[in-house]
Symmetry: C2
Subunit: 489 residues, 2 copies
């Protein structure tokens, strides 16, 4: 996933295997309003000038065709039903990538190809956790964190110390040695809370803890564990780390508050295998005048190894892909090339986006705009962009063409993990803004399944992506580059 | 659980091991509005006459004291954290019952005792299901249905036929022999949808199916399986039956729609052991004038063997128990005795309620009113009752005393599984009406944990139960008996 990345985060991420899961995002996450038709922090509406206003009829045609069609949802469902979750290194991911390439060829897309990159190969293995004391043996519902080391085969059995945050961890530093630390930090926002997943294991290890358990980073729970990447500090021991459910974290916290000694046995079979070859999957609608100038629409093909990776992010791939198919079907070939990319390894390495930027560095100047849809293919509200003042001025006008479907909002700071390396090369980037009010209910869980996305909302999102991509790819001049605008004033 | 039982259902249930899980409830379930302060189907407001109006100050005192106190939530949490889920026959249930008796004695309740009954002892055992074809091996998330027979140790591997309802099952009768039938019936209401859980296995067996899988009876799912009782038809073979998640049911349905052959391996270790002794737990606030006349407040102590049985129904026990403690603390001893009962074996036998009615049959006429709180200890809206016209006329006035806290609604048809046998003996019965809009999110699942109940809402519910119990137990005359009123006109 990414949700609400600042450009600062994008910059950080390109060099990080933690991908989008840094604590850099809170400002923008707080800014973005979800659950209604208004988007807080969006720039005020503008009236398009004559150049862009001339596209209104075409945009209407795109949107009208998009909303009649549920192909994006069906493809997302077929892909995720057939291949299941698709972690980097898995056979499922490679088969899914090949399936997409075959279907893109069937669709008549041009220059369909896999672009090879090497990806990490972390394997979860068997895992379990059991509450041994105080009162009854009880299985805890867990998911090892992505990248965790394993435990010895018999597991680690140790007393548990529960803390609510890093301050309390520091205050209880003397209690932690030889213990399992459970961080029971309530969800505030992803940006604020995910730091415990990212950094908790090493912070606990620094104080002598033998393992770290984390309250799942979740805005709602039905006893639902959430996985996601962690980041080991190379200066301290790597200790095993797993997410427990919100419910089980609260249970153990209550036990501690009652003065009951808590003991857990944690077994994680996680291990790392050598890197394996993978690929970004690419297809094109070649531009009629400037085929070497590129607008990217994209999502990521990989997922964590749970659920079906439907919301995160097969849906993003499906809407981006369908947007290009739609333009093709309507006979709308823009001046420039629109390139759909299904990235590999967003979740635990970001090697797909990094590899693309490296391989295409010489053509970076020819990349006019790069979009990634990775906020869940929910009802569209607008677009979030990281682009120069003058590009933003143009993009606001493009957004205004979507006022009819309440998707005219333009916010600043958007992008996506996999287009981050392109942003570092100066490419304007963006991501659809959507109603992500339930995003962190399903994120990185077994509940990330096709039913969580709505065919009609996905169809609207296809329209938004297709409209932006078409207009940007067809404008007489490419989007102006320059220092990204960061303030809405 | 019970939710929204009609008196017809109550009558049926006393003789049924399916307890509240019959399809008899839809009329009342549809009538009951949840999620706001209004209760559809409630009788119009009334102004209390002088006899009942005289209780307003006392009711206000009860409510004021109730809402200041979160003991009910804390007790529910301690009970369920300590003993976990409490299926009839389990050691956990018996230990929990003993714990309640000890705490009731600590509280200074009178005549604290266990009243013995024998209960069934069904054991889930190890269970699993695996999707073998069409495309990938995938574990299905299941819960065997309560009372299911097991499979052979190596499981049952068979093709799956997916149907949406019993009509489709009949239409596909020729396809079913030797197959596993998956009933993917979307949730309409509990009353309407639960019949597939109750009857599905035998309906499928009649056509030669070898096992039955059921889409969980759930109004929301985060890949959450819901267990609950089934009812075998004695004229056909007993086949194993398990609930799959809504997500997995939809997955297999999509596969069938794509023309893909589906095969599942189902392993259930379920088996039945001999009946074991259990008990209803009882404590009293003995009446000052008519100690042999009884008002019951109650909930059930047992639960299914998943989650913590917090909503269903430790919360109901806790609020009923706390209501009696509250009256005691306030020095409010009514004319009649208020008896708090924690029933055993509501979920898979109803032997607690049946045993009580049998043991106390001779004193049935002395039971003035019997309440059971088993709709989840959520925000109170009023009371649902099964009582004579003249009793209803009185109960409406009692409800009016709770207008200040928006809990004045009186609806017809309420009760609870465990007070059903008393209703058959002519005792007026009732159940608190609550905002149960999320009840079927958590019902019979691993997500039924203390966090799903709110301390402030439970405190309000304590006030409502205490107010009703006190006034009814203190009125000069007992509630009049007679044929229950069934129409709100």
């Amino acid at each position: 996933m990414t949700r609400s990345l600042s450009i600062a985060a994008l910059t950080t991420l390109a060099a990080s295997t933690l991908a989008a899961q840094t604590p850099n995002a809170p400002a923008r996450a707080a800014q973005l309003h979800v659950g209604s038709d208004t988007v807080a922090g969006a720039l005020p509406p503008v009236t398009p000038g004559p150049t862009i206003a001339a596209y209104q009829a075409t945009v209407d045609r795109i949107v009208d065709a998009a909303v009649k069609d549920s192909t994006a949802w069906k493809r997302m469902a077929e892909l995720t039903d057939t291949f299941g979750p698709r972690l980097a290194g898995s056979d499922a991911l490679e088969k899914a990538l090949d399936w997409v390439l075959a279907r893109m060829k069937d669709d008549g897309l041009q220059n369909v190809r896999g672009e090879p990159v090497m990806v990490p190969h972390w394997v979860r293995g068997a895992e379990s956790a059991e509450l041994v004391t105080p009162t009854r043996r009880k299985s805890l519902t867990i998911l090892g964190l992505g990248g965790t080391v394993g435990t010895p085969p018999n597991g680690i059995t140790a007393p548990v110390v529960v803390v609510s945050d890093f301050d309390e961890l520091q205050r209880r530093a003397a209690d932690v040695k030889g213990k399992i630390v459970l961080i029971d930090a309530p969800f505030v926002s992803y940006g604020e809370t995910v730091m415990y997943r990212a950094l908790g294991a090493s912070r606990a290890a620094k104080l002598g803890a033998v393992a770290m358990l984390l309250r799942s980073v979740a805005s709602y729970s039905m006893n639902t564990p959430h996985t996601g990447g962690l980041r080991y500090d190379s200066t301290v021991a790597r200790i095993p780390a797993a997410a427990v459910t919100v419910e089980d974290a609260m249970l153990m916290h209550r036990m501690q508050q009652r003065g009951q000694p808590i003991t857990v046995t944690l077994k994680l079979g996680a291990h790392v295998l050598p890197d394996v070859p993978s690929k970004n999957v690419v297809g094109e609608l070649v531009g009629r005048e400037k085929p070497d100038e590129i607008v990217i629409v994209s999502g990521h093909m990989d997922s964590w190894d749970v659920g079906q990776g439907a919301m995160d992010d097969a849906g993003g791939v499906a809407v981006s892909w369908e947007a290009v198919k739609l333009l093709k079907r309507l006979g709308l070939t823009p001046r420039r090339t629109i390139r759909v990319v299904g990235w590999t390894n967003e979740e635990n390495g970001a090697r797909g986006g990094q590899g693309y930027a490296k391989a295409h560095a010489a053509e970076a100047a020819k990349h006019v705009f790069a979009m990634e849809s990775d906020n869940g293919a929910f009802r569209p509200l607008g677009m979030g962009v990281t682009a120069s003042d003058s590009a933003v001025a143009i993009l606001r006008q493009v957004g205004a063409l979507l006022g009819r479907m309440n998707a005219a909002a333009l916010t600043l700071g958007g992008g996506g993990t996999d287009v981050g390396p392109l942003a570092q090369l100066g490419v304007p980037v963006g991501e659809p803004e959507v109603d992500g009010s339930k995003y962190f209910w399903f994120h990185h869980t077994n509940a990330d399944t096709p039913d969580k996305l709505d065919p009609a909302d996905m169809a609207k999102l296809v329209g938004v992506i297709a409209a932006y991509a078409y207009v940007i790819a067809d404008l007489p001049e490419p989007l102006p580059r320059g220092t990204p605008r960061t303030s809405s004033r």
